[in-house]
């Protein structure tokens, strides 16, 4: 599948937002869209987010403590209309607990277009892959600097929507500069795939976004977004930051 969720005429900016982080968290969706997001990743919070650093852990904990659930977040989504694709990012246990088919169907019903499961490598993908396809969801897969060529080929073969290049070996979280591993990784993936390749993990400011844009098809910005929200930024305030990233990518 090479269907992409993203327009190809500009570098893509995909912010990440923890679902249910505030009572009216969906206001952030509109602000992100307005500020130039090409798609939005919505984190369904999980109690044990193994791949996440402190900021997104904290956001997940806060959302769960508020009482956010998969059901409430999807219900909130179903009530809003956003002009860019929405991609759910979560962990395998939430998918398997509901059952992959039911889970993907509920996502699709809520208007979600794609799915990322952080702890589901290609080797364990089959059941979720079928369910996502059946529900018409793009299945975005992660590629890491340590991924072998052989695994990369397999990932590329099975991914859709876009490819998520983990720019650095580590967890999510803001970093000062784009890691040295980012550019070679993006190049390796682009050499074997037509899907847009987005760099993520550690991209926190315009300079890094620009650097990502220079070597890949765009950037995913997660922890930097959630840090602002945890610090109390309103949707409008957040929009200012996103607009800056947009500008850096353009």
């Amino acid at each position: 599948m090479t269907t992409t969720l993203l327009r190809r005429d500009r570098k893509a900016l995909v912010p990440y937002l923890t679902g249910g982080i505030t009572a009216d968290w969906t206001d952030y969706l509109h602000a992100l869209e307005a500020a130039g997001a090409d798609a939005i990743e919505i984190g369904l919070p999980f109690s044990d987010p193994m791949l996440d650093g402190a900021t997104i852990q904290q956001a997940s904990d806060r959302a769960l403590a508020r009482g956010a659930t998969v059901a409430s977040i999807l219900a909130d989504l179903a009530r809003v209309t956003v002009g860019v694709p929405l991609v759910v990012m979560t962990y395998a246990n939430l998918v398997f607990r509901a059952g992959p088919a039911a889970f993907c169907a509920r996502l699709a019903e809520a208007g979600v277009s794609g799915l990322i499961v952080s702890d589901l490598p290609v080797d364990e993908l089959a059941e979720v892959e079928r369910a996502a396809a059946d529900a018409g969801l793009a299945l975005i897969l992660l590629v890491a600097p340590v991924t072998s060529d052989e695994r990369l080929a397999e990932i590329v073969r099975r991914a859709s929507g876009y490819l998520y290049a983990i720019s650095v070996m580590g967890t999510t979280g803001e970093r000062d500069t784009l890691a040295d591993s980012a550019a070679p990784l993006a190049a390796r993936i682009k050499a074997v795939s037509d899907l847009p390749v987005l760099l993520g993990f550690g991209i926190s400011g315009p300079a890094q976004a620009a650097a990502a844009g220079a070597v890949a098809d765009g950037a995913v910005v997660g922890a930097a977004v959630m840090r602002r929200i945890l610090d109390g930024a309103t949707p409008d305030e957040l929009a200012v930051d996103i607009a800056r990233l947009r500008a850096a990518l353009d």
Partner: protein, 384 residues
Amino acid sequence: MTSLMTEPAAGRFGDFGGRFVPESLVPACAAVAAAFGEAWADKDFRDELDSLLAVYAGRPTPLTPAGNLSARLGISLWLKREDLAHTGSHKINNVLGQGLLARRMGRTRLIAETGAGQHGVATATAAALLGLSATIYMGSRDIERQRLNVHRMEMLGATVVPVTSGSRTLKDATNEAMRAWVADTDQAHFLLGSVGGPHPYPWMVREFQRVIGTEARRQAGFTPDVVVACVGGGSNAAGTFAGFVDTTARLIGVEAAGGAAMSNGAPGVVHGTRSMVLQDSEGQIAEAESIAAGLDYPGIGPEHAHLGAIGRAEYRTVTDDEVIEAVGRLARSEGIICALETAHAVAWVLKAAGTADLPANSTVVLTLSGRGDKDMHTLIGDKA
């Protein structure tokens, strides 16, 4: 009966197991699996490990008849004495194995999670012995409960990192250790302490703990009616069961009532493996609640989930109160102060003896997984 005997194909034990980790960790896990597979087939590696287990860790540990308790309970109870192994629990078997493997793989650093601190102490010990550095993640709640072990780890030169997220226990320490591994797969070996985690850990740790069951079976010289062990992640139980799986012995794992993944959990994926997990209806992992830090864990190794599903092993629960009572009873009747974790197995024997679950005259081999020095503090607080 292939479970407990062979390498699990693709890391699966029936419906359970697997390798549910971020792509960043897949190559590291695969490298461990390959290296372990090779090492385990290499006589030199096995000989070196066996030699360390003997001259360093004090194996074989004895199989002690619990004469007084047996007489009182009307059964014949034997204790496999992992409390006498160096560092005070069965955890040393696994860390020496993985420590040698890490060195063979050229790693210079060990990363581990710990609950009761026994695995952390064991890891710090292996690191010191093998010239590696060690970083141990431990929930801040467990740090409070198991101070003695924190001091031991530090004395051994390890760095102990307090984990303050979530329930601040073993589950959260495990998350943090895996996060640390992602960031350092080149230098670091993740030295998981039990039979959970992504393939090859459940298989590898069971193999390193198999020595418990192999020795116990040889020492017993008979087939016991029942083989019983406490179950946190399930490594001492897996190692024990492995020695008896091809006999008629009933295999009983005893969980903490507040952390009973087998009895109260549902299938789920946590910490890289699919197994039985305590969780809510949407899949959020529940916080376990046990007086024994080493059993205060919402999951269990996938092979146990499988053994339970196929009926080859049975799982029971006991309460904190029963556990406290069991520590005292074993101490006063046999002169052995066991760990709170171990006391779960003892408590089940005390409770079941003479019932249909453990009829009079049964022969029982119980794995005494560790000693209770680390818990005196908790027990005394509890008394007061």
